[in-house]
Amino acid sequence: MPFETELLIHQSVKGRYGVDLPTPEVRNRTGLNARSEIGLPEVSEPQVVRHYTRLSHQNYSIDGNFYPLGSCTMKHNPRLNEKLARLEGFANLHPLQSEEHSQGALELIYQLTDWLKKLSGLPGVTLDPAAGAHGELTGMMMIRKAHEAKGNPRKVVLVPDSAHGTNPATAATCKYTIVTIKTGDDGMVDMDAFNSAIETHGEDIAAFMLTNPSTCGLFEPNVKVIADTLHSIGAYFYCDGANFNAIVGKVKPGDIGVDVMQINLHKTFSTPHGGGGPGSGPVMVTEELVPYLPIPYVEKKEDGTFTLIKENETTIGRIKGFHGQFGMMIRALAYMMSHGADGLQKVAEDAVLNANYILHNLKDDFHVPYPGPCMHECLLTHKKQKENGVTTMDIAKALLDAGFHPMTVYFPLVVDGAMLIEPTETESRETLDGFIEAMKTIAKRAREGDADAFHAQPQTTFRKRLDETRAARKPVLVEEK
């Protein structure tokens, strides 16, 4: 059991400090009176170190154990990447330094761009977006601009009901009307629904946003038909590439008719997710959409040096300050080079192998809504356990007591009580066997029917089940001063 620690604000003792700074000469040319009390804690360095070390003990991490969050992709984070991102030549480089002083950074951006072009089969790349959802927004802004250039921005974006919530939110942010396409019984896009939406909305359709491989852990078999249909009415095929890790080195999205795709560097290329960020969401596009790429971007000059392009008449403009999440680009390139073209193909294959291994071993104990094989994640539901009063949430909390982080729960929304499991390629068979064993034990307990015991879980974690309703009804976002 980790030690308790109080918020530092409450540990404050006047006169303590954790950083020794020189005593400054007091001057004031601000034109205003100096700041009054702020309310920051006064604590020593040992207190701060102990506080955050104790907090770290209250976290589950991929460094500690298996973290099978589906569609989140928790894989090993190599420390080499951390070391390289911290090199003085990168960490202390100011974004407004001259190109002469930043040639190494510009070359790194150029090299990463080249890898992404070759892996995606798409000739245009922007590394500016700060996260996957930001990449979606960037992609949809480019689509809007491209339609506008043809004289009509169009009105409608098609989104499957199994999509990440960011897809409809992004399209709505771009002021599009969302038409939801239902998922068929096989977990794929219902082609009748798709065709009927095409018929109804026709040339009002700006794009279709499809996650492929999908959030059901499946590859869309009609992907080429979908692409051709969209292109025939002048609409764009937007592919949410969040699950690119399942097909990297196996399928080039550019070859199958994708016009725009964002990827998440942390998912396919292992930049650490630090409790929720920073992310990075590069976007790849076809030649036709290259003119609309955001600024700035890097070009190689004839003399072999690199330059930053900051102006361009057709661009959608700037979508983030400076040049994107550069520190994440260093980590991603290091990871790509460590794997190489041969290794990245193995990444996809091992991710798919591991997910199918789990699916195969759990298919008798849990309901499988769609038959295998799956891609890099497998989808189960609580259907069998619910008969005994045990739900997906109960299974998740029971897993915590078994020492495992749960899978993604209640997503995708298209199946009742979804459990989406993504082992990733960096897990060994022994780890997978341990997880499978824990899941089988939970299934057995559920069959034996002690639902009340499930509801009381978790028991062994730092905190027991937290009252989320109370947090939402009476929100406390800050301490009283």
Binding site: L40, D63, T170, P475, L477
Partner: protein, 441 residues
């Protein structure tokens, strides 16, 4: 491939267990015409740690970072000292390698530091509440404008031209797909959703915000205050008259890293809570009544509200927020104010030095750690000449005005300032003798 635990043998065994002969059998539902027929021959094969390290180190060495030369660059990204404990603690695997805290029982570490971060931002800005952080300052200010539009149901945004140019550019990019206009520095009226001002502004000038607050109140517009240098809040009064304070917190705990990842922040009045973009952490209790934290008010967000969500954002800059919280905790009340004073004092010395140079005029009367000065020669030329003196100059602004914004932080030494002064004097004297002064304003 050291990151992949399977051997060819174990792959075969696992395939056997599944009942497949070859890995391709697991890809049978992928239409064969979509599978790549050939391996990626245009990209190199895998490399060992030594090779990758030497390749990327060589790239880093092609750069000349600001730690190598006296630098006076600011403009929304600042070179500050980061205490050793900060990077040590954020590299603990239990922080570094966790995901979004979807299972709060085993994520109290992340949730607690996010809650502490929200507290710190709220107190620094003088606002009631803050969120768990944003991508960066530019996108945070843009989200503030979008929130003001939702709150007022008005479509137009007024932004002062002294706001960071990247922020204005991002605001304009976003506005091309949302209704309404972005106007530069006009008077607010009944169609104005918000007025955005930056203080200290891009040129370093500090504003008294009271007058603008009154103008906004007269027409019912929101006041958004952008802050690019959060250290300024240790010396300047809190911008508490604002409705929303948004900006960049990179200065505390986060390296410059060629522009990212940085740390956007977003704080506002309590009544706007349900229209806030981004992630929020709230306090609650567990089944034993013990205090704990959870992500909350998720009904505003994309994973519940989908196309009705307040924004499409589904992440925060978690690790950067942690670095900020650790650094700020180490500084504490006294340390943070001392740091602000150190920055300001060095900027005062910088201003003194610039003012004392013949032909140079200081344009910024009230400032925090950045000052703008005008020169009798083009500042593009000045920048190149300073570079020849091994000095990274400031940011040239307004080419016709011959002005440059210089920044000083606690890392700017008295010697750096003396070197800058001497270099400028030499450059100006060289260019006055060869006719360079003919460009004088």
């Amino acid at each position: 491939m050291r990151y992949l635990p399977h051997t060819d043998e174990s792959r075969k065994d696992m395939l056997n267990a599944i009942g497949a002969k070859h890995i391709d059998e697991l890809y049978t539902h992928v239409p064969s015409e979509t599978l790549m027929s050939e391996p990626l021959s245009s990209l190199p094969s895998h490399m060992g740690e030594m090779q990758v390290e030497s390749h990327i180190k060589a790239l880093a060495e092609k750069n000349t970072p600001t730690s190598k030369l006296p630098s006076f660059l600011g403009g929304g990204c600042y070179h500050h000292h980061i205490p050793a404990s900060v990077d040590h603690l954020i590299q603990r695997g239990e922080f570094l390698t966790t995901y979004t805290p979807y299972q709060p029982e085993v994520s109290q570490g992340t949730l607690t530091y996010v809650y502490e971060f929200q507290n710190y931002i709220a107190r620094l800005t003088g606002m009631d509440i803050a969120n768990a952080s944003m991508y960066d300052g530019a996108t945070a200010v843009t989200e503030a404008a979008l929130m003001a539009k939702r709150l007022t149901k008005r479509s137009n945004v007024i932004v002062y031209p002294c706001v960071h140019p990247d922020y204005i550019d991002v605001l304009k990019s976003y506005s091309t797909h949302s209704n309404g206009t972005v106007e530069l520095g006009t008077e607010p009226d009944e169609n104005t959703a918000c007025v955005i001002i930056q203080s200290p502004n891009y040129y370093g000038l500090v504003f008294d915000l009271k007058e603008l607050r009154e103008k906004c109140d007269a027409v019912g517009a929101k006041l958004v205050v952008a802050v690019t240098e959060i250290v300024s809040l240790g010396l300047l009064p809190a911008p508490e008259v604002a409705d929303i304070v948004a900006g960049e917190a990179q200065s505390i705990g986060v390296p410059m890293s060629y522009g990212g990842p940085h740390l956007g922040f977003f704080a506002c009045k309590k009544q706007y809570m349900r229209q806030m973009p981004g992630r929020l952490c709230g306090k609650t209790v567990d089944a034993d009544g013990k205090e704990g934290f959870v992500l909350t008010l998720n009904t505003r967000e994309q994973h519940i509200r989908r196309d009705k969500a307040t924004s499409n954002i589904c992440t925060n800059q978690g690790l950067c927020a942690l670095a900020f919280s650790i650094h700020l905790s180490l500084l504490g009340e006294t340390g943070f104010k001392t740091l602000a004073q150190l920055n300001h004092t060095q900027a005062c010395k910088l201003a003194d030095a610039l003012e004392s140079i013949d032909g140079v005029t200081l344009k910024t009367e009230s400032f925090f750690n950045e000052v703008t000065a005008s020169f009798p020669i083009s500042t593009e030329l000045l920048k190149d000449e300073l570079s020849k003196h091994s000095i990274i100059g400031g940011i040239p602004v307004g080419k016709t005005l011959h002005s440059m914004v210089f920044c000083a932080t606690e890392l700017t030494t008295d010697e750096d300032i003396a070197k800058l002064k001497a270099a400028i004097e030499t450059i100006l004297s060289e260019h006055s003798t060869n006719g360079g002064l003919s460009h004088a304003v």
